[in-house]
Amino acid sequence: MKNQSAFLSRLGSGIGSFTKKNVPLMILIFLMILFSFMSENFLTSRNIITLIRQVSFTGISAVGLMFVMISGGIDLSIGSQIVFTNVLLAIMMVDWKIPPGLAIPLILVVGTGLGTINGFLCIKLKIHPLIITLGTSAIFKGFGYIINRSRNIMGFPDSFRWFGQGYIWGIPVPIIVMVVVALIGSFILTRTYFGRKIFALGGNEEAARLAGVNVNKMKVYLFMICGFISAITAVLLLSRVFAGQTITGQGTEFDCLTAALLGGVSFKGGEGTVFGLITGIIIIGVLNNAMQLASFPDFSQTVVKGSVLLIAVAFDVYQKNRKAKETVAKVAA
């Protein structure tokens, strides 16, 4: 009897600490239970797959953003990078008749190039990436509009359909790509020396420099990674929509940022896990999906999304303060 109660209390405290460490996951589970009561269509495997596919594009880009964020930076130009690369890829395949097998690698190079521009501007101008990428965001998007010339570019080869619309073992390709990108991202962050340097940069840039990290080179590399990954998203989105439009991808950075903050990636840098990020992504997916099922008007959805971003920021700050308080307590003691 006594053993049993001891076991139960241990189990209780175990669950308690697990819950405390995995707040985003708890929020997700809570939302899923809530919505499954509100709509019987919610918790069906078909709806769940649709839901995840909807956010998989954002999810892929968010991994790139996370790399930059952990290093203490930010990239607000993700959406515009997608706009530009998406339109350019459409032009390559339709206007220039470049086969997908060649056009896709080329557009990945272009995407990486956009990231390189961001990186170089950051280290040369020495201004916070928030401002730099806000500027390049307008520029990239502008060029997207210019080369698009208000057209709806269509007429891709049928083989290109697979990336955004195909399935592997019944699972949509974008979801598979998201999982692969997430796994590789997680491996790089947690197991490699490069990953260590990213955390070092976000944790304490000066200490990283004095520990022999080439800070500027790292910053450029991270923006390049972010650009590369955004180009992957652009490929998948173009294949999904199957028409080159400037609307595709706009505002992606908003959802990425919200997901990252919800998932515990710190705005200050030095902290974040891929698991948390993906949880954040799915929370956004669940909210989107539930609002659609409940046929919320579009404008109200925007209000909800903005609120979620602010709640996520508040949560980030709250976590920081709680940690700081605990630390102060420990140090003072």
């Binding site: 490699t192 022999g212 003072a332």
Partner: protein, 495 residues
């Protein structure tokens, strides 16, 4: 003594999760006395100050000020009673001028418009009390750390204070500047201000204080009249055991020249030349701003060298970045541990292994097994007190944090180590351990450069001392010439 009791703590207790930071503390402070508060890191001194300043709520006990009992103290109440605290971290706004900082929170002249002339005039009146020339119009960020400290004191003094609490005020100051501060303290004392003085430097406590109270592990130990006690007794009271603050003897004499610097210029330093031998501890002395840390940064490649040559084992080398320095097996333990040395939110293991993570990686993947081994090895070798290597560094005491910095440099297997203020803000016990480690390193043939403002430590540890003054080499002092006044003369450029 029948001086009036201005501040008295009665059975003050403060609990933090897991620890009793203040355990039933009762201390009286008298009017116009300098009352030193001693204790190792973690003894509860900082918590005590915060309780008096109202920065934290106490769980039990009474704070009595001028006979009036207060069960709850708030920052504004504490201030209105004339209590000011100068914390270790400055509370100045770097982008505002000295006078604006000094007069902050005071309404000067009109209540709507800011009268900068009047503010400047009032501030310079305050500054005039101190025998230093600081332009009140200068921005705080343009001041040296020592000048900032003076502004911080001026800010406190400008209010009508009864009690001034100073937490490690001498830590960032050079010897000459400490003297200025002592003068200020004496003036305040004459005005009847009570000063609570916290310092790890015992010689200061003996010079300046009237009484001294010792704390240990959150408990009050005792209060003594300073003139009735001595160094050994205080150390014993602080540590709770007999501990000699002494400098360990060396076994091996210095060997061949490890590092030679010729006419090094850059980062504010001009034409500096010296040599360090293997197994030698070379002390680097000088006032704050003399260019000591700047020299360390030059040698480590963190700042560009304009002119001059660096020779390692007789071979000229070019060091352009910290990465180059690390490649040439030079290690730097920075003065500012938290700002430049550590990744506070990361684990101990992560911090120790970070600089060598590249070396123990294959195809870029870190060998975590090796990482564990190395972290454990150095944790044991230098006795970092922690239940787990996964503990975040931010949760360690100052002494243990410094040990992590040391472990990091040792793991990198450096041949030349530059220590910048190795024992600043570290308690007596940990200091002793750091000295022993440095001595062991030297005995094993490592060349050590030690920058220090603690004269006693400099004289006790070094085999030779070079003195810098205003970015230039002012002189070199051999062991048989070691004498405090001689070095001070060189440092202040009067020789």
């Amino acid at each position: 003594m029948d001086a009036k009791i201005v501040l008295s703590l009665e059975k003050v207790t403060k609990k933090y999760p897991g620890v009793l930071a203040l355990n039933n503390i009762s201390i009286d402070f008298l009017e116009g006395e300098v009352h030193a508060l001693l204790g190792e890191n973690g003894a509860g001194k900082s918590t005590l100050i915060k309780a008096v300043a109202g920065a934290i709520d106490v769980d039990a006990g009474i704070i009595k000020i001028n006979g009036q009992e207060y069960h709850e103290m708030t920052p504004s109440l504490s201030r209105s009673l004339g209590i000011e605290v100068i914390y270790q971290e400055f509370n100045l706004v770097p982008t505002l001028s000295c006078s604006e900082n000094i007069m902050m929170g005071e309404s000067v002249g009109s209540s709507i418009f800011f009268n900068s002339k009047l503010v400047d005039a009032k501030a310079s009146e305050v500054l005039k009390q101190f025998a230093v020339a600081i332009d009140p119009k200068k921005l705080v960020q343009e001041l040296s750390i020592a000048e900032q400290q003076i502004v911080e004191i001026a800010k406190a003094v400008s209010k009508n204070i009864k009690i001034l609490i100073m937490d490690e005020p001498s830590a960032p100051l050079s010897v000459a500047e400490v003297e200025i501060m002592f003068d200020i303290i004496k003036q305040l004392k004459q005005k009847g201000v009570t000063i609570i003085y916290i310092s790890h430097r015992l010689e200061e406590v003996f010079r300046i204080s009237d009484r001294v109270s010792v704390m240990r592990d959150g408990c009050y130990v005792t209060t003594k009249n300073t003139k009735d006690t001595n160094r050994q007794e205080l150390i014993k009271l602080m540590v709770g055991r007999e501990l000699k603050e002494s400098y360990p003897g060396r076994k091996n004499p210095p060997g061949d020249i490890a590092l030679e610097v010729k006419n090094l210029t850059g980062n504010g330093d001009k034409n500096i030349s010296f040599v360090v031998r293997k197994g030698e501890i070379l002390g680097i002395s000088g006032l704050v701003g003399a260019g000591r840390t700047e020299l360390a940064m030059l040698l480590f490649g963190a700042e560009p060298i304009q002119k001059g040559e660096i020779l390692l084992n007789g071979q000229p080398v070019i060091i352009k970045s910290p990465l180059d320095a690390i490649k040439y097996k030079i290690g730097l333990l920075t003065e500012d541990r938290k700002g430049q040395g550590l990744f506070l939110e990361m684990s101990i293991k992560w911090n120790i292994s970070f600089p060598i993570a590249g070396r123990i990686s294959k195809y870029g993947i870190v060998n975590t097994k090796k990482e564990d081994e190395i972290a454990r090895k150095y944790k044991e070798r230098i006795n970092i007190k922690t239940p787990s290597l996964l503990q975040q560094v931010i949760n360690l005491s100052g002494g243990n944090q410094q040990k992590v910095v040391l472990a990091k440099s040792l793991a990198a297997e450096s041949d030349i180590l530059i220590f910048d203020e190795p024992t600043r803000g570290i308690d007596v016990g940990a200091k002793q351990e750091i000295y022993q480690l440095m001595t062991d390193l030297a005995d094993n043939g490592i060349a050590i450069l030690m920058i220090s403002s603690d004269m006693e430590e400099l004289l006790g540890m070094s085999d030779r001392i070079i003195v810098l003054c205003e970015g230039k080499l002012a002189g070199e002092v051999k062991k048989d010439q070691f004498e405090q006044h001689y070095i001070l003369d060189l440092a202040s450029g009067t020789h």
